[in-house]
Symmetry: C2
Subunit: 206 residues, 2 copies
Amino acid sequence: MPQGKVDPANIPDDGLTTRQRRMLPITAVHTGPGKGKSTAAFGMAMRAWNQGMRVGVFQFVKSPKWKVGEESVFKRLGQLHEETGEGGPVEWHKMGEGWSWSKKAGSEEDHARDAAEGWQEIKRRLAEETHDIYILDEFTYPIKWGWIDVNDVVETLQNRPGTQHVVMTGRDADPKLIEVADLVTEMTKVKHPMDVGRKGQKGIEW
Amino acid sequence: MPQGKVDPANIPDDGLTTRQRRMLPITAVHTGPGKGKSTAAFGMAMRAWNQGMRVGVFQFVKSPKWKVGEESVFKRLGQLHEETGEGGPVEWHKMGEGWSWSKKAGSEEDHARDAAEGWQEIKRRLAEETHDIYILDEFTYPIKWGWIDVNDVVETLQNRPGTQHVVMTGRDADPKLIEVADLVTEMTKVKHPMDVGRKGQKGIEW
Protein backbone atom coordinates (compact mmCIF):
# COMPACT_ATOMS: atom_id res chain seq x y z
CA MET A 1 0.00 0.00 0.00
CA PRO A 2 1.49 3.36 -0.96
CA GLN A 3 2.31 5.64 1.95
CA GLY A 4 -0.15 8.48 2.45
CA LYS A 5 -3.11 6.47 1.20
CA VAL A 6 -5.60 5.10 3.68
CA ASP A 7 -6.56 1.51 3.11
CA PRO A 8 -10.33 1.45 3.78
CA ALA A 9 -9.98 -2.12 5.04
CA ASN A 10 -7.65 -0.72 7.65
CA ILE A 11 -9.81 2.00 9.19
CA PRO A 12 -9.85 1.37 12.92
CA ASP A 13 -13.02 0.06 14.47
CA ASP A 14 -12.77 2.63 17.26
CA GLY A 15 -16.14 4.30 16.82
CA LEU A 16 -14.45 7.62 16.00
CA THR A 17 -15.29 9.80 13.03
CA THR A 18 -12.51 10.85 10.69
CA ARG A 19 -12.72 14.30 12.22
CA GLN A 20 -12.28 12.93 15.73
CA ARG A 21 -9.41 10.78 14.56
CA ARG A 22 -7.73 13.86 13.09
CA MET A 23 -7.70 15.40 16.54
CA LEU A 24 -5.95 12.46 18.20
CA PRO A 25 -2.67 13.37 19.80
CA ILE A 26 0.42 12.32 17.86
CA THR A 27 3.39 10.75 19.63
CA ALA A 28 6.39 10.91 17.32
CA VAL A 29 9.98 9.73 17.60
CA HIS A 30 12.81 10.78 15.27
CA THR A 31 15.74 8.50 15.86
CA GLY A 32 18.71 6.93 14.05
CA PRO A 33 22.27 8.09 13.38
CA GLY A 34 21.46 10.42 10.46
CA LYS A 35 20.90 14.16 10.27
CA GLY A 36 17.51 15.81 10.38
CA LYS A 37 16.00 14.38 13.56
CA SER A 38 15.74 17.70 15.38
CA THR A 39 15.45 19.75 12.22
CA ALA A 40 12.36 17.81 11.13
CA ALA A 41 10.90 18.15 14.64
CA PHE A 42 11.32 21.92 14.50
CA GLY A 43 9.73 21.88 11.05
CA MET A 44 6.69 20.19 12.61
CA ALA A 45 6.66 22.84 15.32
CA MET A 46 6.74 25.52 12.63
CA ARG A 47 3.62 24.06 11.01
CA ALA A 48 1.95 23.80 14.41
CA TRP A 49 2.80 27.44 15.17
CA ASN A 50 1.20 28.43 11.90
CA GLN A 51 -2.02 26.70 13.02
CA GLY A 52 -2.02 28.74 16.20
CA MET A 53 -0.85 25.91 18.42
CA ARG A 54 1.03 26.58 21.65
CA VAL A 55 4.58 25.37 21.06
CA GLY A 56 6.85 24.15 23.87
CA VAL A 57 10.45 23.20 23.07
CA PHE A 58 12.60 21.45 25.68
CA GLN A 59 16.21 20.84 24.72
CA PHE A 60 18.06 18.18 26.66
CA VAL A 61 21.40 19.27 25.27
CA LYS A 62 24.38 21.25 26.37
CA SER A 63 25.86 22.67 23.20
CA PRO A 64 25.43 26.43 23.20
CA LYS A 65 25.92 26.87 19.45
CA TRP A 66 23.90 24.02 18.04
CA LYS A 67 20.35 24.84 16.87
CA VAL A 68 20.75 28.46 17.80
CA GLY A 69 19.23 29.27 14.41
CA GLU A 70 15.99 27.49 15.20
CA GLU A 71 15.84 29.00 18.66
CA SER A 72 16.27 32.46 17.24
CA VAL A 73 13.55 31.98 14.61
CA PHE A 74 11.09 30.42 17.06
CA LYS A 75 11.62 33.19 19.58
CA ARG A 76 10.87 35.65 16.80
CA LEU A 77 7.71 33.71 15.87
CA GLY A 78 6.64 33.75 19.52
CA GLN A 79 7.21 37.50 19.62
CA LEU A 80 5.16 37.91 16.43
CA HIS A 81 2.35 36.05 18.15
CA GLU A 82 2.48 38.43 21.10
CA GLU A 83 2.58 41.50 18.88
CA THR A 84 0.08 40.59 16.20
CA GLY A 85 -1.74 37.45 17.35
CA GLU A 86 -0.33 35.48 14.40
CA GLY A 87 0.42 31.80 14.97
CA GLY A 88 0.72 30.47 18.48
CA PRO A 89 2.76 31.27 21.59
CA VAL A 90 6.24 29.75 21.84
CA GLU A 91 8.24 28.69 24.87
CA TRP A 92 11.80 27.51 24.34
CA HIS A 93 13.62 25.97 27.28
CA LYS A 94 17.03 24.41 27.33
CA MET A 95 18.89 22.48 29.93
CA GLY A 96 22.18 24.19 29.11
CA GLU A 97 22.79 26.14 32.31
CA GLY A 98 19.92 24.70 34.31
CA TRP A 99 16.37 25.14 33.06
CA SER A 100 15.15 28.68 32.61
CA TRP A 101 12.16 28.13 34.94
CA SER A 102 14.49 26.97 37.72
CA LYS A 103 16.13 29.24 40.27
CA LYS A 104 18.99 26.81 40.70
CA ALA A 105 21.88 27.09 38.30
CA GLY A 106 22.87 23.76 36.78
CA SER A 107 26.33 22.49 37.42
CA GLU A 108 28.66 20.12 35.66
CA GLU A 109 27.92 17.35 38.13
CA ASP A 110 24.18 17.68 38.13
CA HIS A 111 23.13 16.87 34.60
CA ALA A 112 21.21 13.84 35.85
CA ARG A 113 19.31 15.98 38.32
CA ASP A 114 18.71 18.68 35.71
CA ALA A 115 17.36 16.15 33.23
CA ALA A 116 15.05 14.57 35.82
CA GLU A 117 13.84 18.01 36.84
CA GLY A 118 13.14 18.87 33.21
CA TRP A 119 11.03 15.77 32.83
CA GLN A 120 9.07 16.54 36.02
CA GLU A 121 8.26 19.97 34.64
CA ILE A 122 7.13 18.48 31.32
CA LYS A 123 4.91 16.03 33.23
CA ARG A 124 3.30 18.93 35.09
CA ARG A 125 2.71 20.77 31.84
CA LEU A 126 1.22 17.69 30.17
CA ALA A 127 -1.14 17.31 33.13
CA GLU A 128 -2.15 20.98 32.84
CA GLU A 129 -2.27 20.90 29.02
CA THR A 130 0.07 23.88 28.85
CA HIS A 131 1.16 23.34 25.24
CA ASP A 132 -0.41 21.85 22.12
CA ILE A 133 2.91 20.48 20.83
CA TYR A 134 5.98 19.49 22.84
CA ILE A 135 9.35 19.08 21.18
CA LEU A 136 11.54 17.01 23.50
CA ASP A 137 14.84 17.47 21.74
CA GLU A 138 17.61 14.92 22.39
CA PHE A 139 15.29 13.33 24.92
CA THR A 140 16.47 9.79 24.18
CA TYR A 141 19.86 10.37 25.84
CA PRO A 142 18.80 11.08 29.45
CA ILE A 143 16.56 8.02 29.12
CA LYS A 144 19.44 5.94 27.79
CA TRP A 145 21.70 7.12 30.60
CA GLY A 146 19.11 6.20 33.23
CA TRP A 147 18.44 9.80 34.30
CA ILE A 148 14.78 9.57 33.30
CA ASP A 149 12.71 6.40 33.77
CA VAL A 150 11.36 5.22 30.42
CA ASN A 151 8.42 3.47 32.10
CA ASP A 152 7.37 6.76 33.66
CA VAL A 153 7.64 8.43 30.25
CA VAL A 154 5.55 5.73 28.57
CA GLU A 155 2.86 5.82 31.26
CA THR A 156 2.73 9.62 31.21
CA LEU A 157 2.43 9.72 27.43
CA GLN A 158 -0.25 7.04 27.38
CA ASN A 159 -2.35 8.80 30.00
CA ARG A 160 -1.89 12.41 28.99
CA PRO A 161 -5.11 14.37 28.66
CA GLY A 162 -6.46 16.17 25.60
CA THR A 163 -4.81 16.31 22.21
CA GLN A 164 -1.27 17.33 23.06
CA HIS A 165 1.28 16.27 20.44
CA VAL A 166 4.70 15.10 21.60
CA VAL A 167 7.75 14.80 19.35
CA MET A 168 10.91 13.23 20.76
CA THR A 169 14.32 13.19 19.08
CA GLY A 170 17.67 11.52 19.57
CA ARG A 171 19.61 8.40 18.65
CA ASP A 172 19.04 4.98 20.13
CA ALA A 173 15.43 5.50 21.15
CA ASP A 174 14.38 2.99 23.81
CA PRO A 175 12.21 0.21 22.31
CA LYS A 176 9.48 1.20 24.77
CA LEU A 177 9.42 4.70 23.27
CA ILE A 178 9.12 3.19 19.78
CA GLU A 179 6.28 1.04 21.06
CA VAL A 180 4.30 3.92 22.54
CA ALA A 181 4.83 6.20 19.52
CA ASP A 182 2.55 6.16 16.52
CA LEU A 183 4.93 7.95 14.18
CA VAL A 184 8.53 6.76 14.17
CA THR A 185 11.12 7.78 11.60
CA GLU A 186 14.69 6.58 11.56
CA MET A 187 17.20 8.94 9.98
CA THR A 188 20.02 6.94 8.46
CA LYS A 189 23.33 8.47 7.57
CA VAL A 190 24.24 7.69 3.99
CA LYS A 191 26.95 10.29 3.53
CA HIS A 192 28.14 13.13 5.72
CA PRO A 193 30.65 15.87 4.83
CA MET A 194 32.31 15.51 8.24
CA ASP A 195 33.37 12.04 7.10
CA VAL A 196 35.78 13.72 4.74
CA GLY A 197 36.96 16.25 7.27
CA ARG A 198 34.65 19.11 6.40
CA LYS A 199 33.49 21.34 9.19
CA GLY A 200 29.96 22.43 10.01
CA GLN A 201 28.70 25.22 7.80
CA LYS A 202 27.28 28.50 9.03
CA GLY A 203 23.55 28.68 8.27
CA ILE A 204 23.49 24.98 7.51
CA GLU A 205 24.55 23.36 10.73
CA TRP A 206 23.55 26.11 13.13
CA MET B 1 34.09 7.22 14.63
CA PRO B 2 31.15 9.01 16.27
CA GLN B 3 29.22 11.28 13.95
CA GLY B 4 29.87 14.98 14.43
CA LYS B 5 33.50 14.48 15.36
CA VAL B 6 36.23 15.21 12.85
CA ASP B 7 38.86 12.55 12.59
CA PRO B 8 42.12 14.54 12.30
CA ALA B 9 43.56 11.75 10.17
CA ASN B 10 40.71 12.40 7.80
CA ILE B 11 41.15 16.14 7.20
CA PRO B 12 41.33 16.58 3.44
CA ASP B 13 44.60 17.46 1.84
CA ASP B 14 42.91 20.20 -0.20
CA GLY B 15 45.03 23.15 0.89
CA LEU B 16 41.98 24.86 2.39
CA THR B 17 41.80 26.34 5.86
CA THR B 18 39.00 25.25 8.18
CA ARG B 19 37.37 28.60 7.58
CA GLN B 20 37.50 28.15 3.80
CA ARG B 21 36.15 24.65 4.18
CA ARG B 22 33.26 26.00 6.22
CA MET B 23 32.28 28.16 3.26
CA LEU B 24 32.14 25.28 0.80
CA PRO B 25 28.75 24.79 -0.77
CA ILE B 26 26.74 21.89 0.61
CA THR B 27 24.88 19.55 -1.71
CA ALA B 28 22.35 17.60 0.35
CA VAL B 29 19.83 14.89 -0.48
CA HIS B 30 17.01 13.76 1.83
CA THR B 31 15.58 10.54 0.50
CA GLY B 32 13.93 7.31 1.64
CA PRO B 33 10.33 6.31 2.37
CA GLY B 34 10.06 7.92 5.82
CA LYS B 35 8.69 11.24 6.98
CA GLY B 36 10.74 14.35 7.51
CA LYS B 37 12.57 14.71 4.19
CA SER B 38 11.00 18.04 3.28
CA THR B 39 10.43 19.11 6.87
CA ALA B 40 14.13 18.76 7.63
CA ALA B 41 14.98 20.66 4.43
CA PHE B 42 12.74 23.54 5.49
CA GLY B 43 14.36 23.43 8.91
CA MET B 44 17.74 23.94 7.20
CA ALA B 45 16.24 26.84 5.26
CA MET B 46 15.02 28.34 8.53
CA ARG B 47 18.55 28.30 9.93
CA ALA B 48 19.87 29.76 6.70
CA TRP B 49 17.26 32.54 6.79
CA ASN B 50 18.36 33.34 10.33
CA GLN B 51 21.93 33.81 9.06
CA GLY B 52 20.68 36.31 6.47
CA MET B 53 20.95 33.92 3.55
CA ARG B 54 18.78 34.34 0.47
CA VAL B 55 16.38 31.40 0.48
CA GLY B 56 14.83 29.97 -2.69
CA VAL B 57 12.27 27.16 -2.41
CA PHE B 58 11.12 25.28 -5.51
CA GLN B 59 8.38 22.72 -4.99
CA PHE B 60 7.98 20.08 -7.66
CA VAL B 61 4.63 18.95 -6.28
CA LYS B 62 0.96 19.39 -6.99
CA SER B 63 -0.84 18.94 -3.69
CA PRO B 64 -2.37 22.26 -2.67
CA LYS B 65 -2.72 21.41 1.03
CA TRP B 66 0.60 19.80 1.78
CA LYS B 67 3.29 21.95 3.32
CA VAL B 68 1.10 25.01 3.29
CA GLY B 69 2.21 25.64 6.88
CA GLU B 70 5.85 25.97 5.91
CA GLU B 71 4.99 28.16 2.95
CA SER B 72 2.99 30.47 5.13
CA VAL B 73 5.75 30.77 7.75
CA PHE B 74 8.48 31.33 5.16
CA LYS B 75 6.46 33.99 3.37
CA ARG B 76 6.06 35.69 6.74
CA LEU B 77 9.81 35.44 7.35
CA GLY B 78 10.46 36.92 3.91
CA GLN B 79 8.08 39.77 4.72
CA LEU B 80 9.86 40.33 8.04
CA HIS B 81 13.10 40.64 6.10
CA GLU B 82 11.57 43.29 3.84
CA GLU B 83 10.09 45.23 6.74
CA THR B 84 12.89 45.05 9.28
CA GLY B 85 15.96 43.65 7.51
CA GLU B 86 15.96 40.59 9.77
CA GLY B 87 17.11 37.31 8.26
CA GLY B 88 17.30 36.91 4.51
CA PRO B 89 14.93 37.33 1.57
CA VAL B 90 12.69 34.39 0.71
CA GLU B 91 11.29 33.26 -2.61
CA TRP B 92 8.86 30.36 -2.62
CA HIS B 93 7.86 28.91 -5.98
CA LYS B 94 5.69 25.93 -6.67
CA MET B 95 4.88 24.07 -9.80
CA GLY B 96 1.24 23.57 -8.78
CA GLU B 97 -0.51 25.71 -11.38
CA GLY B 98 2.52 26.43 -13.53
CA TRP B 99 5.47 28.28 -11.97
CA SER B 100 4.77 31.71 -10.57
CA TRP B 101 7.43 33.37 -12.77
CA SER B 102 5.82 31.92 -15.89
CA LYS B 103 3.08 33.61 -17.90
CA LYS B 104 1.81 30.26 -19.13
CA ALA B 105 -0.64 28.42 -16.93
CA GLY B 106 0.30 24.79 -16.35
CA SER B 107 -2.10 22.16 -17.55
CA GLU B 108 -2.79 18.57 -16.63
CA GLU B 109 -0.90 17.31 -19.67
CA ASP B 110 2.17 19.44 -19.27
CA HIS B 111 3.73 18.42 -15.99
CA ALA B 112 6.79 17.19 -17.83
CA ARG B 113 7.17 20.55 -19.55
CA ASP B 114 6.53 22.44 -16.30
CA ALA B 115 9.15 20.40 -14.45
CA ALA B 116 11.74 20.90 -17.19
CA GLU B 117 10.99 24.62 -17.23
CA GLY B 118 11.42 24.76 -13.46
CA TRP B 119 14.83 23.16 -13.74
CA GLN B 120 15.89 25.59 -16.50
CA GLU B 121 14.97 28.50 -14.24
CA ILE B 122 16.91 26.99 -11.33
CA LYS B 123 19.92 26.57 -13.65
CA ARG B 124 19.73 30.25 -14.60
CA ARG B 125 19.54 31.23 -10.95
CA LEU B 126 22.48 29.03 -10.02
CA ALA B 127 24.52 30.63 -12.81
CA GLU B 128 23.58 34.11 -11.55
CA GLU B 129 23.96 33.15 -7.87
CA THR B 130 20.46 34.39 -7.10
CA HIS B 131 20.04 32.51 -3.83
CA ASP B 132 22.35 31.26 -1.08
CA ILE B 133 20.30 28.15 -0.41
CA TYR B 134 18.01 26.28 -2.80
CA ILE B 135 15.42 23.83 -1.52
CA LEU B 136 14.41 21.62 -4.45
CA ASP B 137 11.46 19.89 -2.85
CA GLU B 138 10.30 16.55 -4.31
CA PHE B 139 12.92 17.03 -7.01
CA THR B 140 13.74 13.33 -7.25
CA TYR B 141 10.41 12.52 -8.93
CA PRO B 142 10.71 14.53 -12.16
CA ILE B 143 14.20 13.04 -12.47
CA LYS B 144 12.86 9.54 -11.90
CA TRP B 145 10.14 10.08 -14.47
CA GLY B 146 12.65 11.28 -17.06
CA TRP B 147 11.34 14.86 -17.16
CA ILE B 148 14.68 16.27 -16.01
CA ASP B 149 18.02 14.80 -17.11
CA VAL B 150 20.00 13.68 -14.09
CA ASN B 151 23.30 14.13 -15.94
CA ASP B 152 22.44 17.76 -16.56
CA VAL B 153 21.61 18.16 -12.86
CA VAL B 154 24.89 16.56 -11.77
CA GLU B 155 26.96 18.66 -14.17
CA THR B 156 25.17 21.85 -13.15
CA LEU B 157 25.64 21.14 -9.44
CA GLN B 158 29.30 20.26 -9.91
CA ASN B 159 30.04 23.42 -11.82
CA ARG B 160 27.90 25.93 -9.95
CA PRO B 161 29.71 29.10 -8.96
CA GLY B 162 30.18 30.48 -5.45
CA THR B 163 28.92 28.91 -2.25
CA GLN B 164 25.31 28.18 -3.06
CA HIS B 165 23.84 25.38 -0.96
CA VAL B 166 21.41 22.98 -2.63
CA VAL B 167 19.07 20.64 -0.74
CA MET B 168 17.05 18.11 -2.72
CA THR B 169 14.24 15.95 -1.33
CA GLY B 170 12.15 13.00 -2.45
CA ARG B 171 12.12 9.22 -2.49
CA ASP B 172 14.21 7.02 -4.74
CA ALA B 173 16.99 9.54 -5.35
CA ASP B 174 18.98 8.65 -8.47
CA PRO B 175 22.35 7.07 -7.57
CA LYS B 176 24.03 9.88 -9.51
CA LEU B 177 22.44 12.43 -7.18
CA ILE B 178 23.69 10.47 -4.16
CA GLU B 179 27.12 10.42 -5.77
CA VAL B 180 27.30 14.18 -6.32
CA ALA B 181 25.90 15.02 -2.86
CA ASP B 182 28.08 15.40 0.20
CA LEU B 183 25.29 15.09 2.76
CA VAL B 184 22.79 12.29 2.20
CA THR B 185 20.23 11.20 4.77
CA GLU B 186 17.76 8.41 4.26
CA MET B 187 14.51 8.70 6.20
CA THR B 188 13.17 5.24 6.98
CA LYS B 189 9.60 4.64 8.01
CA VAL B 190 9.45 2.63 11.19
CA LYS B 191 5.82 3.33 12.08
CA HIS B 192 3.22 5.63 10.60
CA PRO B 193 -0.25 6.43 11.97
CA MET B 194 -1.74 6.14 8.49
CA ASP B 195 -0.86 2.45 8.66
CA VAL B 196 -3.63 2.06 11.19
CA GLY B 197 -6.11 4.19 9.28
CA ARG B 198 -5.46 7.50 11.01
CA LYS B 199 -5.80 10.64 8.98
CA GLY B 200 -3.35 13.49 8.67
CA GLN B 201 -3.46 15.87 11.61
CA LYS B 202 -3.96 19.61 11.34
CA GLY B 203 -0.79 21.43 12.39
CA ILE B 204 1.19 18.22 12.18
CA GLU B 205 0.86 17.16 8.59
CA TRP B 206 0.21 20.57 7.03
